[in-house]
């Protein structure tokens, strides 16, 4: 098969169906941009969940030296070994507790670094500024208040936090947005596929004279179909490239500049460029293969070989 011949056929086909090609490009671009956006949003949520989110329900933060100076709950100084033992013993006695894990300052520092690695705040933190803590898994997550009332205000305890409860609201919102994005994406995807099928149908009809002659002189099925499939793939790839552009611009204007969320919300560690860039090959591959497959199946119906 001669590449030049096939390429010229593709060019002719795309230009002949310019409006349809444009519609395919736009719908593929939108659906894949939403697809990428939804992937990035899940990345962001996972990053924010941090080390403990899925493992525990309640955290008891113990006083450290710096708490002792500025936190009224820790007015009696940093937590002592005896206090820690007493707390642990009491926790073990409580029937609502499923499991208790102790997190030392060093471990806390390590997990903090994992979660907030790049943010400006993290670089100024040292291990002895971290708090020791007991991380508690409850038999029933609703029973958080039992722990809170038992340990709040106790010597050496800085605070009792139902972290999961706090974060769940935020993650609920983000997940909701994610599902909305997926719903719109699926719809756009269906639109894109229908447009591709229709484009192929129009294209096959307008070239039925050529394909008829090809058939009669014994061109192989693949040879006859290839220009149509590649036409769809090229249109899809253009759409995929546009989608990649959207994602890069979105990362740039929402997080770094423009909206500049990374400055306004500097407690949140946002996803980095690597998260964005690793999604791009996936999007490009999808934009190439999906329309090609759609065209292939459309041709079985509309192009006799």
């Amino acid at each position: 098969m001669r590449a030049q011949f096939v390429l010229s056929e593709i060019g002719v086909g795309l230009r002949r169906n310019l409006t349809m090609t444009f519609a395919v490009v736009v719908s593929v671009a939108l659906s894949l941009a939403l697809f990428g956006g939804s992937l990035l949003m899940s990345d962001q949520v996972n990053q924010m969940k941090g080390y403990w989110y899925d493992k525990i329900n309640v955290s008891i933060f113990l006083c450290n030296k710096s708490n002792a100076q500025n936190d009224p709950n820790c007015a009696k100084g940093a937590v002592t070994e005896d206090q820690k033992k007493a707390i642990l013993a009491d926790l073990d006695k409580m029937p609502v507790v499923q499991k208790v894990t102790y997190e030392s300052q060093d471990e806390a520092y390590k997990h903090y670094k994992e979660q907030f690695g790049d943010s400006p705040l993290a670089s100024t933190i040292t291990p002895d500024q971290m708090q020791e803590s007991y991380r508690i898994q409850l038999k029933n997550p609703e029973q958080y208040k039992v722990i809170a009332s038992a340990f709040n205000g106790r010597d050496g305890v800085q605070s009792v936090q139902d972290q999961k409860g706090i974060l769940d609201n935020l993650f609920g919102l983000l997940n909701g947005m994610n599902w909305a994005a997926r719903a719109v994406m699926s719809l756009m995807l269906v639109v894109a596929l229908m447009l591709i099928v229709n484009t192929v149908r129009v294209s096959a009809f307008s070239r039925r004279r050529e394909t008829g002659i090809m058939r009669l002189v014994g061109a192989s099925g693949f040879y006859i179909q290839a220009p149509f499939i590649m036409e769809a793939a090229v249109a899809g790839l253009i759409g995929g490239t546009v989608a990649c552009g959207f994602l890069v611009l979105a990362r740039y204007f929402i997080i770094d500049h423009g909206l500049a969320l990374s400055e306004k919300l500097n407690l949140i560690n946002f996803i980095g460029w690597d998260a964005v860039l690793t999604k791009l090959p996936l999007i490009l591959a999808t934009s190439l293969l999906m329309p090609a497959l759609a065209a292939f199946f459309a041709l079985r119906k509309y192009l006799k070989v």
Binding site: M214, V217, G218, A219, G221, Y223, V305
Partner: protein, 229 residues
Amino acid sequence: MIRFDNVSKVYPKQTRPALRDVSLEVEKGEFVFLVGSSGSGKSTFLRLILREERCSHGQVHVLGKDLARVSNWKVPQIRRQLGTVFQDFRLLPNKTVAENVAFAQEVIGKSKGEIRKSVPQVLDLVGLGGKEDRRPGELSGGEQQRVAIARAFVNRPLLLICDEPTGNLDPQTSVGIMKLLDRINRTGTTVLMATHDQNIVDQMRKRVIELEKGRLVRDQARGVYGYQH
């Protein structure tokens, strides 16, 4: 070359078969006219040979192969050994004469060198030397049909199938086309031609096969168009 064994063809959603129990054989190098009124099954007969349709009963052998046993993806291999010419020429209007002929070689992957050699050769054979760069629209009907024949013949098929090739041409031009087909036949190519043109059939005195309502009603060695019982 072609063998039909008790071939019937019933199209879906139709009760009357297009072909009924047709058996015949066409040998290599023959020139055969296929005659019959419209709806007699001529087109179905040709479509079965080209494997555009499969027969409902019986067997169709073309070039020694049972077409029912040829898988779909191998059909192109068979069609490359068949040339086809139609009443409506089926040329590509936006390509030149030479490009139209070359198209038949490009799509089966012939090299540029081969194409450059064989296209002028075949255009000379059909009498269109010097008109390589014209477009079909600039040519007369007879010349267009010559282009179509050149395209059908450029890959040197063993069998040339013509579906009313003179149907759109005046009698004088038709004679020219028939002389050309005769010349091609003399190179050893089998020619099967469906036609309504009584004069041509009567003049050529070749084998005539007549279909009527899907049945084979006549197979005459040196026949004429009409009935001769």
